[in-house]
Every structure is written in structure tokens, then in C-alpha cells.
């Protein structure tokens, strides 16, 4: 199993979700996050004073998938979250050591 963690632009969330659904990914966890990378922040103006805001709002999605669709899932996120502008985000993939469905106690890929 692989865990895929992707930091993406918030408005791309629906498209990414649809693409992963189409691959049969059965669930995901989404978190509103703030961060910066090469995009850096932006400027906000309050009563004539400019402030640099370093942290940009992003969405983090986390999914765990069986090995055989991991590459396809990664690719689906890559293609749907991409706008080719700075700040599109990152995808991180990890080996996942275990998974348990709490309701039934099923383990491994059956739990996904």
C-alpha cells in the first residue's frame, strides 16, 4: 500500500476528487492548510499600509491506495491539479505499513 499526500490549490480539490473517484479510490481526508514554497506569499493592504502575508492557503489531501493503482492515482492528481502556474503544490508518496478498518477489524488492502 502507498500513502499519497498532495498539497494543492484549493479550487482544484473537486477536480482531483473526481479523477481519483474514477480510478476507484474509495475515500480521502482533506485538510485546509497554510504554507509557502517557491510561490512565497502575497501582499495585503489595510488602510494604506502594506503587509506581506507569507503563508498561502492550500488544501492537503491524504489517500492510501493499493500498490497497483498508486502510480495511476499519482498521475491523476498531477494532471488535474496542474495549472502550470507557480503555487500548484507538491505530491509526496510513502510506503504504508498497515491499515485497519475500525468497524470490522479488516486489515491491509481490504480495509481501504
Amino acid at each position: 500500500m502507498k500513502k499519497i499526500e498532495a498539497i494543492i490549490k484549493p479550487h482544484k480539490l473537486d477536480e482531483v476528487k473526481e479523477a481519483l473517484n474514477a480510478l476507484g479510490v474509495a475515500g480521502m481526508t482533506v485538510t485546509d492548510v497554510r504554507g509557502y514554497g517557491r510561490q512565497k506569499g502575497h501582499t495585503e493592504i489595510y488602510r494604506g499600509a502594506e503587509y506581506t502575508v507569507d503563508f498561502v492557503p492550500k488544501v492537503k489531501i491524504e489517500i492510501v491506495v493499493d500498490d497497483d493503482i498508486a502510480d495511476a492515482a499519482e498521475h491523476a492528481i498531477l494532471m488535474t491539479a496542474r495549472t502550470e502556474k507557480i503555487g500548484d503544490g507538491k505530491i509526496f508518496t510513502y510506503d504504508c505499513a498497515g491499515a485497519i478498518r475500525i468497524r470490522t477489524g479488516e486489515r491491509g488492502p481490504e480495509a481501504l
Binding site: G41, E44, I45, Y46, R47, G48, A49, E50, Y51, T52, V53, D54
Partner: protein, 409 residues
Amino acid sequence: MTEFNTGDTAFMLVCSALVLFMTPGLALFYAGMVRKKNVLSTTMQSFFAMGLVSVLWALVGYTIAFGSADGPMGKFIGTFDKVLLKGVALGASGVEGHLYPESVFAMFQGMFAIITVGLITGAIAERMKFKAYVIFAAIWVLVVYSPLAHWVWGGGWLGMAGLGALDFAGGTVVHIASAAAALAAAIVLGRRKDYGSAAVQPHNLPMTILGAGILWFGWFGFNAGSELAADGVAGSAFMVTHLAAAAGMLGWLIAETIQHGKPTSLGAASGAVAGLVAITPASGFVDAGPGLLIGLAAGVACYFGVQLKNKFKLDDALDVVGIHGVGGTLGALLTGVFASKAINSLGADGSFAQLGKQALGVAVAWVFSFVVSFIVLKIIDATIGVRVDAEAEETGLDLFDHAETGYVL
């Protein structure tokens, strides 16, 4: 039985309620501009004034401001014949043909005292101890606000019964007095830890804009009601109040767009308030054209006014000085230029002489309120301290002072 004019009575009752409504509006206006960890602290500073000031006003504030101006000290302080609103329930206010109950007048004026105290709190946001604020507010309303109201409106030495400085609805008594106190407070308190960084950005601007809208709405009671009768001057004051707010919004946004390229929503709200502040002293004395001009000038002047604090490195957190100080001063001076006896026969015509009287009124309000506020704050600081410690400031005043949080998320 006194023959009350029912039209005037109904009008003044409604205006009193409108002025009260400005204070929760102010609470929203200010609270949206602070960080979410201080939203209740800032809200409480305004809202609590409705409790504290009302009680003090009934006990002695009213009689200091509007007790009899006869007697040796009458030009400086009202006599204590109306302590605990003695006789007010049966009294009459207004002129012949426009009489209404004195109880209504006492409440109308009390609402002014409340919001004036509330206005100061923009400067102390996010770092003043609630206990220290309560003590300051209680002293301030009795030793600064009430005497100043007496000088200008209560038959004292500064207003139309004395030197003849015109202040229709409170440019000096309300706006300059609160701004001078705010300046003193910003100096005594010092800067917030995060002053000047992006960490202090407003947490809820829709709240601020709603607050500005409520202020605008309530201001009709504030200015038109200050005619103290439902007549032509009240109508004219209502009209120029609205026009100045509108022009103030445009003035601010034009200046802002030229300087930064973007018109901001906070700028629209601030500009409208700036216009309202500046028209306040002029409202019953000027025509529509000057009303528009005063509002427009205030929008531009206050936009640059709020940026002064960055030069002086003063943390007047929510710009009481930049908006109420600059706007109030500009409005009071322009009243001396644009006042017209055709609009209000009891006023004056604009002239150099009148401008001089206005400048004197402005200077007195600034100096008196600043000096007394500064001394009172220094005494409070030396005894119980005015400022929360660094840890409480970091955690937020909502938890530290009130054991609450504004939002669960």
C-alpha cells in the same frame, strides 16, 4: 401639566434609540479589525460602556454636563441639582412650541457619552487590561466628557452661550475628545508585540463593514437629533450627514486607488465613517454642497491621517486619531468656513472670525482631553498597571480577561 410637542417627543425618542444602536455597531466595526483571539475583548470594551456609562450618567454625569449653568462655576461645570436625575422625569426640554420631556433629553445625551467612551477603545485594542479600562472609562466620562459637554452644549464658556464655537453634534466633544484620549492611551500603553507585522491583520472584515453600516444608520439620530426638534434644520442635518458619508467613501477610495491601485472594502467603510465624523460639527449649519465637500475632504485627509501613526511608530491600533482626530478637527474648522445662517438662523456665517473661534474650540478639546487622559492613565499604570503581560497578549485577551473564546473553530 407641560404641553409637550408630540412630534418632537416622538422624534427625540427615536433618535435616542438610534444613537444607542451606534455602540454595538462600533463594537462590530472595531472587533472585525482585531485578531480572533481578541474579538470578545474589543467587543466588550464598547458594549460594556452601555452598562457602565449609563449608570454613571444617571448618578452624576448628566448633572455635571447639563445641570444649571448659573452660579460662580456655572461656565465650567453644571451644578449638582440633578444628581441621580433628580426632577428629570417631570422636567421639560426644548424651546417654546418644541417642548419634549427632559427624561428624553437626558437619555439622548447619555447615549452620546456611551459612544464617546467606546470610540477611545480603538486605540487600546489587544493589550489593555479590562480592569484598567473600566477604571479609566469611569473616570474619563466624569472628568473629561461631562465637563466638556457642559462647556460646549450645557451653557458653558466655550459654546454658543460663551465664546461662540459651533459644534452641532459633537465634533469637539465626541470626536476630538475621544481621539485625544486615544492618543494619550496609545502613548501610555506602548505598541503591541506584533505591531507592524502581517500577524495583526483584521480577522473579519464583513463584521467591520456591517458595523460601519450600523454606525451610518445610527448617525442620523446623532446628527439630526442634535437639532433637538423635528424641524427643517433636523432635515437638513440628516441630508448633509448622508451626503458626507457617501462622499467620504469616495474620497478615501480615490486616494487609496491612486496610491495602491486597489479600492479596499476596509477603505470604503473607513471613508464613510471619516465623512460622518467630519460632518458631525457642521451638520446643522451647512448646505448640501459644503456637506459633500466636507465628506470628500475628510475621506482623503483621513486616508493620509491613518498613515501618520506609521511615521510616529505609535500603535493607535484601530486608527481613532487618524479618523476621529483628523476628521473631527477638519470638520470643526470647515464649519467655520461653510456655516450659513440661511440654513440655521441660530448658527453663524462662515468667516475668519468664526474660523478662529472654531480653532479655539478644537485646541481646547485636544489639549484638555489629552492632558487629563494622560495623567489618569499614568496614575492607573502606576497603581494596577494598564497593560496585560506578554503571555496574556500572546494568548489573547478573550481568554485572559473574560475566560471565553469567540469562535469554536
